[in-house]
């Protein structure tokens, strides 16, 4: 991702020449590099998103480590997980593909197609959330509640937290769609869509990880 921007940076640097001139006085600069800070390879929004993803990773890493530790405690009982999760997973994976389709449409200036793909992606996201609620209700119907076993506690909390973060993704998608409807998305001004897609893929990957952790492992 960073590499894509590299040519532009080099160009910018060339344009600026070697401004600021090298210091004449001894000790005038520790590295002598006249790097302009504004040429940081990625935008502040993208940096902000990367940081947010790092924070979310640490949150789930903390919870996963608790999960792994407690699974080794005697008396751990696995619960039977509803099979609808497989369908939900497929839907979420599909939504990642459709949001990429939206990005591709934008690049090829097929604005209407992009809007449709965005709606489809958001719809898939909502369908996933509904599917997760159905899974919860099936568990409740089977008499598996939050405090039933440690496995069920983790299942509800991890899926719940992931769902909350995904709600944020759906809201971001709605925002991007509102930009698209006001014709504010162009191939040259596609950052909001790009960042939204990044977050969405991350949520997708996070779900696959949680699914493996909670169900398959």
């Amino acid at each position: 991702m960073v590499f894509k921007y590299m040519p532009t940076i080099t160009q910018e640097r060339r344009q600026h020449g070697t401004t600021p001139p090298p210091p004449v006085l001894p000790g005038g600069g520790d590295d002598g590099g006249g790097d302009s800070g504004s040429s940081f390879p990625i935008s502040k929004h993208q940096v902000g998103l990367w940081i947010l993803l790092g924070v979310i990773i640490m949150l789930f890493a903390g919870l996963s480590s608790a999960y792994i530790v407690l699974r080794g405690v005697p008396g751990w009982q696995n619960i039977e997980v509803p099979s609808i999760l497989w369908l939900n997973t497929a839907i979420l994976l599909a939504s990642s593909a459709t949001i990429e389709a939206a990005r591709k449409s934008l690049r090829h200036l097929r604005i209407d197609a992009m809007k449709s793909w965005l709606v489809v992606s958001g719809g898939f996201g909502l369908a996933f959330l509904v599917g997760q609620v159905v899974a919860w209700r099936q568990l409740v119907a089977a008499g598996v509640y939050l405090p039933s076993t440690l496995h069920s506690s983790f299942f509800y909390i991890l899926t719940g937290l992931h769902g909350l973060h995904l709600v944020g993704g759906v809201m971001a998608m709605a925002y991007v769609l509102s930009l698209a409807l006001r014709n504010r998305l162009r191939p040259a001004a596609d950052e909001s869509l790009k960042l939204c897609a990044m977050y969405w893929h991350f949520m997708d990957g996070l779900w696959v990880y949680l699914f493996i952790l909670l169900v398959l492992a």
Binding site: P20, V24, S43, I51, I157
Partner: protein, 594 residues
Amino acid sequence: MGMHDKHATEHAHHELGFVRKYIFSTDHKVIGVQYLITAMAMAIVGGVLSMLMRLQLAFPSQMLPSMGSIMPDAFAGGIMKPEFYASLVTMHGTIMVFFLFTAVLTGGFGNFLIPLQIGARDMAFPFLNALSYWIFLLSCIVIFAALFVAGGGPLGGWTSYAPLSAVEAFGPGQGLGMTLWITAIALFTASGLMGGLNYVTTILTMRTKGMSMMRLPLTQWSLLITAILGLLAFPVLLAAGILLIFDRTGGTSFFVPAGLITADMKLVQHAGGHPLLWQHLFWFFGHPEVYIVILPAMGMASDILSTFCRKPIFSYRMMVYSMAAIAILSFIVWGHHMFVSGMSPFLGSVFTLTTLLIAVPSAVKTFNWLGTVWGARIRFTAAGLFAIGFVSLFVSGGLSGIFLGTSAADIQLQDTYFVVAHFHLVMAIAPLFAAFGGLYYWFPKMFGRFMNETLGKIHFWLSFVGVYCVFFPMHIIGIGGQMRRLYDPTQYDFLKSQQGVNVFISISAFILFAAQFIFLANFLFSIFAGRRVTEKNPWHATTLEWTVPSPTGHGNFGEELPTVYRWPFDFSLPGAKEDFVPQDVAPVAATGRK
């Protein structure tokens, strides 16, 4: 007045109403000052709590009828209740670690200094920044409220160990008081994450032209590394807090094993949890947290020291690398807080090794500070004195860390006053001194007036002697066996011979606390009536914030952002007209050559 100044003034008069300008402001300077003042208020609360603790420790279970009438719940018949003492310990630690140190150093100085020193107009996300402050304020109110709810404040110390914290029936303060504690910490975490996201993004992407990473003032490096630490550590605390809340209210059993019994002999309805899990999660956050407190202090003290020594900082690069090394190591040492938790001795020796490794970058930093001071013609201002005091306290507190980080010695010393002495000196008082130094140093920048230097020096000497009188004897009574969080030392025969030391510590503490009001009066008085700043750069410093008028207007710099030509430590350059060359001075101008 040059063009730049004129523009800056115009920026300042870019009219906003009083409320938008000083209360719901998105200007990083206003937010920084808001953080500072809120944290100072919290410091007074935390300080009063510690005075009550010292009162009890020196004169255990004395009749205090006046206290009994003020707080009848806490002083039954005028005598302080043990539960109240435990809640004092908890609230003092929590308030000081989170709501004073973390808030002052990163929230206060971080917000105020980052854009000014890197040559930016504001933070990357000003609204998020303002939101961060308001959530912080809310968390302050919530933690303050925990002192006054039914049952009193939480009892489990600032670490809130489970299972004590996980079951409401375990104590009077473990009900609503504990719930408010978790809520406040969760809010504080959210606020800190918003701040950290802003700091990292701003420092990485908004540096002005010429401000390469290796030209950043050390304050900026320290704030960047601190913010990264916070972003990696706070989410883990949040994860632990989420599990704890579910244990308390959702009936889950993450931290509670089977078979626990409450004080009134009722079996706790939990099973399957792991009682040590909280400690692991907490200290995975907790150890980086102490570096979140000390690193900005190191950065600020380095810059202030260099300015008042009129010398470049000794080995700038090693200062940066050692801060990074400390940050990385801080994530693999948490087990040294748990040596007596039944951990395998082999694992204990691994944590000992990683812990002792931290001594290396810490010693590098100390060596460099000494190298900076060595042979310098030091200007003994209040700010400079506090920076030197920081180095002294960091060394004094750091050395005892070597004993505590060694598992064999720690088994003897853990949970005694030796630990209390260690962490107060190294991660409470040392950062406090750096913060005082920062306040004396940047006060003119914030308010356009100076603080009184004479009062500042009196404040320094009383504080410097005071903290050593308070905390140094604690090592001795700690080795003598006095336990931390102990309600009444005279209950134990083997501690009675040390009681005189406790009295000495308490009296010193009362004087030390009183001396802080000299600072407070100086601070408040100087905002309105201090000597006015007449020049842009009163300390003859090199960093960008001193190239604009004080107080600095909205937008910080004039129409054009400054261009940086040099690192921030060009002091006493041979051939230069003056003994400092600011970062925005082009090489030719500095020598006077055309």
